[in-house]
Structure formats: structure tokens, C-alpha cells
Amino acid sequence: MAANCKQCIDLLVDYVDGVLDTDLRAKLDGHLHDCGACEEFLESYRATTTLCKKALAREMPESLANKLHSFLHEKVGDDPKPDKG
């Protein structure tokens, strides 16, 4: 293997963004091909973002949303129109 697991995992941000330079990408691809543990690690690294997006998504509570719209009405009502031209 051209690189060890630690070196490969340190490169994962650029690897999943697709911006790793050609040589490093080839090394990492080679390592992933030969190392089942790192291949699984990469899958779980990618899946982490997917799961966190789902888990942390939320809606604004209705009471706070109503408050937001009331606030904007009150404040913007005192403002001139935004398009001054």
C-alpha cells in the first residue's frame, strides 16, 4: 500500500470534496482498494453528514415564526421603501 490508514484519513476532507491533487488521489484510491477498514471508514465518514443533516433539521416553532412576522411588520412599517431609486 502506498500510504497508511492515518495518512489517508487525514486527506478525507479534500477527497470527498473532489479537490485532492491527482497523485494523492491515486495513492488514496490505491489504499482504499486494498484496505477494507478504510473503505468502510470512508463510507461511514460520508454517511455521517447525511445522518446529521436529517437529525439536525428542524422547523421554526410556529409561535416564534409568528413573532418574526409581527416584528418585521412593526419594524418595516416604520421604514421607507427599500427601493429608493
Binding site: N4, C5, K6, Q7, I9, D10, L12, V13, D14, C35, A37, C38, E40, F41, E43, S44, Y45, R46, A47, T48, T49, T50, L51, C52, K53, K54, A55, L56, A57, R58, E59, M60, P61, L64, A65, K67, L68, H69, F71, L72, H73, K75, V76, G77, D79, K81, P82, D83, K84, G85
Partner: protein
Amino acid sequence: MRLDPTHQSDDGSRPAMVTEGDDTLLLRAQKGDMGAFEQLVTRHQNRVFAMAARMLRSDDDAAEVVQEAFLAAYRHLPEFRGESAFGSWVYRITANFALMRLRKRKVTAVVEEPEEPQFNERGSLVDQVADWTPDAETQTLDAELRGAIDTATAALPEDYRQVFLLRDLEGMSYEEIAAVTQESVPAIKSRLHRARLALRAAIDRFYAERPS
């Protein structure tokens, strides 16, 4: 001023089928149409609020930040030239307000070092990864997993959490994050990586310890 952003047909008897895009609403809002601006607010308020609430760990603080952000957006509408999407612009404004509020708090929480993978002396991975990744795209999350992820996110050092939320949840570019956090892109990437490693470890642990 239109209170209800729902589109109505001309006679008001049924909802219209056409949904205006953000660009159209923005043009109308820039001409002083508060109803159009309210539709933009309604369209983006959940994502903006979610980001602020996760950054500030307080719904009340997040609600105030969202108010400030949308008001600032309204007041700067004439200067917005549409180089980016309206949503991205509002997220950046909100992130700025949230970060300013965090800096004002000046509370240094005691946070554990995020968990990282374990390697042997030759740099080989010694962690065993539980088999939870194939379902990530399709699975519906249960309350326990949501709770585990929420707890793990809250336990991240604040600067790691900010970067993770702005990049992985909001999809902001590294350059945009650098502009709002005043940090370098390499520093942002390093924090993002460590945040992902810590959250990955937390999810892995959740599945490993979960009774089957």
C-alpha cells in the same frame, strides 16, 4: 401589507398553482412589496432558524438573531444585486449575527477533545466500523439516534460546531465560511474534519451499543 403569504387565485377562492421563484419575489420586494418579502421570509425561515438554533443552542436567541437578520436583509435589499441566491445571502447574514452573539457571550465552556480514530504504531486503523452506512440515505431516524447526534453535536468545541453546521448543513463554501468566521480555509477544513470524525465516532458508538 399581505399577512398571509399563500398565493390565491384572482377571486381568492382557491390557491393559485403557480409558485414564484425567489428572483421574482426579490424584484418585487426591492420595489417595496412587503408581501413578496414575507414570502421570501416564510420560504427561508426554517433553515435560517435551524442554523441559528444549532449555533447558539437556544431557540430564543436564535429567534432574535433571525429577526435581526431578516430586518438587515430587508434594509439592504437595494444593494443586493443577486450575485448569489437570496437564501445564501440571508444565511450568511444570519451566520454573521449568530457569531457576533457567540463572541459577546464570552463564556468558555469546558469541552472534551473530540474523539478521533485509533491507529496502531504503523498507522493502520484499529477501529471496527459498525455496519450502519448502507441505510444512511434512506432510513428514517428514530428519536434515540436523533438524540445521540444532537448530544454529540452539542459536545463539539464551539468553533468545530460552527464550521460543521455552516459547511455540512448549510452548504456554504469554505471562502464564505472564512469570511464570516475570520479563519483561514486550512483551519476551517481541519476543524470540519475533526468535527466529522467526532460525530462519526458518536454514531458508530450509538449503533454498537444499541440493543438489537
